[in-house]
Amino acid sequence: MLQYLIILLDDTSVSFCHYRNTNSNRRLIALDGLKAGILFAMKHNLMVQFVYPDYELPESYATVIESIDHHKIKPFSLKEDASVVVYDYREAVSDQTLNRNEKTTLVLRITKDELFSGYEEVIHFLKRSNRLSLVITDTDTFRKEDFDTYKKVLSHLESAIPEALKENDDMPQLNILSDRIQLEKMNNCNAGVENITLAPNGKFYVCPAFYIEDENDSAGNPAEGITISNRQLYTLAYAPVCRKCDAYHCKRCIWLNKKTTLEVNTPSHEQCVTAHLERNASRNLLNELHAKGFFPNKEIREITCLDPFEWKE
């Protein structure tokens, strides 16, 4: 069931996920288009997430945006009043103003090389945040040796959470480690099913990445509604590899699926293995937290296979 409407306010709106937005030409959504999107959201009970570019919007836009309950996803450079702030690695290292009392969710978009060489900086960043969502932007390029390195890095990140717990009353959340502990079922991105994106051209897209990659690949508009062909293929029930998987925190990024396997319902080996390394690291973290009395009723079972494709029914 549709729950969220993502509105890209501009062609240069910040990417908060796997895709790269290299657009440098500004194209602000038309005010009427913005209003139409908001009206659609109101009629369908959707929570709106506005995705901002790195410049201040005209006052008339701010007024319209404030006419509905919403979240603001903003780049680091405009982080005031954001619900979600998006950093790149360099920005994360340089921002010394953060403190854990801020309830903002932080998104850190990072390459594997940055993470592998700079995981200590990431830990430092994590300890200053309330919730950090780490997005590795090039998981599709992971090779076997990268998986080995990632496993080691996860082990370092995993140790940082109980350490942070010692220093504070509450535990910082790191999506790739703490989400799996809390989840009881799959909680994927669900683009096209639970959320839809309105682009600056006034049309719907399955997610921002689909718009950035191919503007012609639209999926309706606020006036005519959502038109996603073969929409069932975006649901978990129609994903043979994923529906029996318990890496519940996995993004199951359908844009990456399409890019790597040519099917929206089939993840790549790399997406599966990275999610399972995270799942197993979450299990290790949970065992450590059990010893400290946290999550006594939670359990993540031990598995040996890192790619559910290999244990297809």
Partner: protein, 396 residues
């Protein structure tokens, strides 16, 4: 008649060389929409493909291998094929490869140049490892309705003259017959004609494309019932086989226990003249009307396993509508993954085409008629022991 066993079925890797996209014929029902005279496989591409496949015994770990050669018409490239087969044999020996002496070369040919000296020399050289099927569609009227030269002339006479030689070299050879809408009135006489030519196994199927017209299913059923009567009355059932009649078809399938994919796309591998790999030849561009080719790698860089995952993860229910999943006569209802892809409303292999639905149901009705009539005849004649029938509970 018990269906002839396919060599190493399930245990063999099928590797298809698309050696040419040219053919002497322009069959009206042919799914190859992009045939042309330009795309002939260079030797170097073939050699690279063979080296890649034989180098990687971990990926290609099947017990046996079937090398298929298709076109267009494969025998137009007999020199290349001969060179490929010689190279394969030498390499299997030199590498002490597990497939040595566990390989076959397989051909589907239109039969026109079967008698050609070079083709015959190749056949004699490789006979022990060779399977060849000649496509002949039935009576001259039926065959020439579709299987015509570029000039418009029918090809029946040129094919039929090679049938005796083929059957002499491949006793029990099977032919493959394709049925499209205009062919329906000729089905009965065509199958009987092929039996009369000495072909004892006729593999026949309706095309998967959406070509069917109103009333075709009724006509189709009538033809099959007429054929059933003839086969039974002439007692051909013990010696001849027509794939339209199979006892296992027309039953419901369990959602969980009978959830396998029908098609083998992805389990096999096809390579074309440009050196691109495909999950089956039906995903090469010359086979596709409306979609982009589904390339899964090439001879230089190898196969991208991610591109294969959707094929290997496919199951029956995920690609079918509820109507198909719960259909009471679904067993034996076939599909072609390539046609599904081509006909789908998005570029996916996960949307099953149902163009064949009414034809399958008509086939099931005629098939039921055939087996009921045959078993009754055998029962009354006391010859039932050799045949088993599915047990059906008695109502009262």
């Amino acid at each position: 008649m018990e269906k002839r066993k396919v060599w190493q079925e399930g245990a063999a890797k099928n590797i298809t060389f698309i050696v040419t996209k040219d053919c002497q014929l322009v069959c009206k029902y042919c799914y190859l929409v992009g045939k042309n005279i330009k795309e002939r496989m260079p030797w170097e591409v073939a050699r690279q493909a063979i080296d890649y496949i034989l180098d990687d015994t971990e990926q290609f770990n099947e017990r046996s291998v079937v090398f298929d050669f298709i076109g267009g018409e494969p025998f137009l490239e007999i020199d290349l094929i001969d060179r490929i087969c010689d190279y394969i044999k030498c390499q299997l020996f030199a590498r002490n490869h597990p497939w040595f002496d566990s390989y076959r070369f397989n051909f589907s040919t239109n039969g026109i140049n079967y008698h050609d000296e070079k083709v015959q020399r190749f056949i004699k050289k490789n006979l022990r490892h060779l399977s060849i099927g000649i496509t002949i569609d039935g009576t001259p009227a039926k065959h020439d309705l579709n299987r015509i030269y570029k000039s418009g002339k029918g090809s029946y006479n040129d094919v039929a003259k090679n049938i005796p030689l083929w059957l002499e070299q491949f006793p029990g050879g099977a032919t493959k017959v394709t049925i499209s809408s205009p062919d329906i009135p000729y089905i009965k006489e065509s199958v009987l004609h092929l039996f009369a030519l000495g072909i004892t196994e006729v593999n026949i199927n309706c095309v998967f494309e959406d070509v069917w017209r109103e009333g075709d299913d009724t006509l189709f059923e009538e033809q099959l019932i007429g054929l059933a009567d003839e086969i039974i009355e002439k007692r051909l059932y013990g010696t001849h086989g027509c794939s339209f009649f199979a006892e296992h078809i027309g039953k419901p399938l369990d959602r969980k226990l009978q959830n396998q994919n029908w098609c083998g796309a992805g389990m096999m591998l096809a390579v074309d003249a440009a050196g691109y790999f495909y999950p089956c030849t039906r995903f090469a561009q010359y086979s596709l009307r409306d979609k982009k080719a589904r390339i899964i790698g090439n001879v230089r860089e190898g196969i991208d396993p991610n591109k294969l995952r959707p094929f290997l993860a496919l199951d029956r229910c995920t690609q079918s509508t509820d109507e198909c999943i719960d259909c009471e006569v679904s067993s034996g209802c076939a599909w072609c993954q390539g046609e599904n892809y081509d006909a789908a409303c998005t570029p996916t292999i996960y949307q099953r085409s149902t163009a064949i639905c009414r034809m399958h149901k008509a086939r099931v009705r005629a098939n039921n008629y055939y087996w009921n009539k045959l078993y009754r005849k055998l029962e009354t004649e006391g010859g039932r022991e050799g045949f088993k029938k599915t047990v059906v509970n008695v109502i009262c």
